[in-house]
Amino acid sequence: MPRINSPAELEAFRRNLLSERDPNKTCITLCSGSACHASGSREVAASIQEEIQKHGLNAEVEFRRTGCHGFCERGPIIVIRPEEICYFQIKPEDVPEIVSETIKEKKVIERLLYTDPATNEKIVHESDIPFYKNQGRIVFGSNVSVDPKNIDDYLAICGYSALAKVLSGMTPDQVLQEVKKANLRGRGGGGFPAGTKWEGSRNAPGDVKYVIVNADEGDPGAYMDRSLLEGNPHSVLEGLTIGAYAIGSHEGYIYVRQEYPLAVENVNIAIQQAEEFGLLGKNILGSGFDFIVKVHRGAGAFVCGESTALMTALEGRAGEPRPKYVRSNVVGLWGRPSVLNNVETWANVPLIINNGADWFTQFGTDTSKGTKIFSLVGKITNTGLVEVPMGTPLRDIIYKIGGGIPGGKKFKAVQTGGPSGGCLPEELLDLPVGFDELTKAGSMMGSGGMIIMDEDTCMVDIARYFLEFLTEESCGKCVPCREGMRQMLKILTNITKGKGKDGDIELLELLSETAIEAALCALGKSSPNPFLSTLQHFREEYEAHIKEKRCPALSCKELISYYIDPDKCQACMNCLRKCPSEAITGGKRQIHVIDQEKCTKCGTCFEVCPSRFAAAKKISGEPVPPPIPEEARTIVRKSKEK
């Protein structure tokens, strides 16, 4: 591929590309993000290629492996264009039928379509499915049409046109002002205005400056940055290059978790292709601007998501944060001004440049503009990645897009903001999502994890869980974080084990206060959030654990027992056979009894007991009824049904 030497050549290349592409040609796109890989999209891809070959359709049908489509619950997903027929949960054995029926005969296969649970209607087109219909996917939407390993796809959808616009007709200051005007706030969690951060670096003294992509996405239950980076890496690179131009940087870094091998692979391919095209490297698009990007893999430390820790890790040292008397945009990587933004923030930049700040600010609330991608997971019907305009109420995300709670269970809380965030109860569901709105409610935006919890989730255990996570990830540099959190975890663990005592809550509050005031970095300062927000909204659960030694959600292992109701047991042998610890005695027509000594409380009996009997029970805060005497265990059936 020859280098592209000017914005005009880029435009000509794009026109030529589009003229060669027939919009009416059948194109099978298959979601090949990491989540779909886990549900078997590799095998499906192999099967599609084989079938196309077999039917001699190589010339008529294009097959494109794209990044994540977002609807991970129903993966792997196939979309057949131009008709936009959408099939879900595809297995390799479905592929022959898809090729012979849909591709050749243009017939829709009913059973592979999405069924709307509300109306029981089959939906053919992706854009009519409630999960997609209620979103606003300005950043994430391109994922479905781009093969991340092929720069042509990105160029075809006007990729790098924002970079061309910037390099050919905007001064760095104009770029900066546009981003400031758009009020783009950091999507990684802090919500710091990107324009202000850039300006600080631009005005800082020194010739060498750096721009950095933070792709060290560590929040458990959040994977939107990965999906963006592995699904549309060029959009991040384009944003980064524009940022570099604005602040006067010639070297950029992408710090990505090594646990995301596909993202590492795709971003490396993207850099290589962009360099070949002259969109990275020396004299980009003939403008005289030079910029190179290097990829660093993170070796697994949550704290490296913190800006100063990440920069220390980039220098090849242990990633410990440092106090921010001087911000890293002035003194950062190797002591130079360094702008660090999250993947999603960078990916928003080309959109702002192309469409203008006024377009961008039409989405969102007064203080939070644009959209936000959330990773909607946990006890939710439609697990996946959703992008909504800021200001969308939580209730819409959870019910309209997410489809509510599965299994007829009751909603209890939504946890946002990752380990440092908080849990919001039902009463706050009409809260519009935005940086300040969520903070005010005692949680935070964070990077966009949104974990839904139902009535079976114990809120004390959730606080303990996050504290355990943060204790393990604390780098150990400052005392309030290292020691304070350890004590908090100890107390919370005791409470979940039924060893809580009066005064524990007050002590936890005291330790929280100290961490907020005195910890060095955001990890420590925000570490009490999970505890404080659950205490604020679910205090009664703490009290039940401490005073009554009862877990209201029937979740804390030490506080519950499994018990088979002798009046309901039909001696079906299900639990008896499946119990991994052989703790259940009984037999044919012998009522089953759990030996409490042997029981490991794994819950298998509760899960396998047929719902029509519902004999296996979880109990908490009350003693287990004594087993009925052996002579009373025989079931006498009046009529033999089977």
Binding site: S39, D219, Y223, A299, Y465
Partner: protein, 150 residues
């Protein structure tokens, strides 16, 4: 571990001390753990003190200073998997293998680790064994899956 392979890895990163973590990651990927002689070679060629290498090797989770088993079990304990019962799956695996997270059994059959999020939350609770993802796990199913490895 073969000295030539270590040298190749170091050369790939231009013997640059700031690439120390990247070098160690490649050695870890190649060898599954970081033997002492490999670290000594890295210290010598990159001209970084051994103390710093050990600081890094113990600070980051990706590194292991002891040999690993034939099969790597990664149990996702991310929040989504946690609320769906990952701790019960972890209990079962611990019970069946007799090892705790971070440990390897004496036969070098299994190494057990917990991970914070594998990013396939729709399948939770998730267990990854040697790179293969097992989704929607429950204690009984876990026992069935583990039987397939020897």
């Amino acid at each position: 571990m073969d000295k030539d392979i270590i040298d190749q890895i170091i050369d790939k990163h231009n013997c640059e001390p700031s690439y120390l973590i990247q070098v160690l990651l490649d050695i870890q990927a190649e060898n599954n753990w970081l033997p002492r002689e490999a670290l000594e070679r890295v210290a010598e060629r990159l001209q970084v003190p051994m103390t710093r290498i050990q600081h890094i090797a113990t600070f980051y989770k990706a590194f292991s200073l002891v040999p690993k088993g034939r099969h790597q079990i990664h149990i996702c304990v991310g929040t989504a998997c946690h609320v769906r019962g990952a701790s019960r799956v972890l209990d079962t695996v611990q019970g069946l293998t007799g090892i705790e997270p971070g440990e390897t059994d004496l036969d070098l059959k299994f190494s057990l680790e917990t991970v914070n999020c594998l990013g396939c939350c729709a399948l939770g609770p998730v267990v990854d064994i040697d790179g293969k993802t097992h989704g929607k796990m429950a204690p009984a199913k876990t026992a069935d899956v583990l039987k397939n490895y020897d």
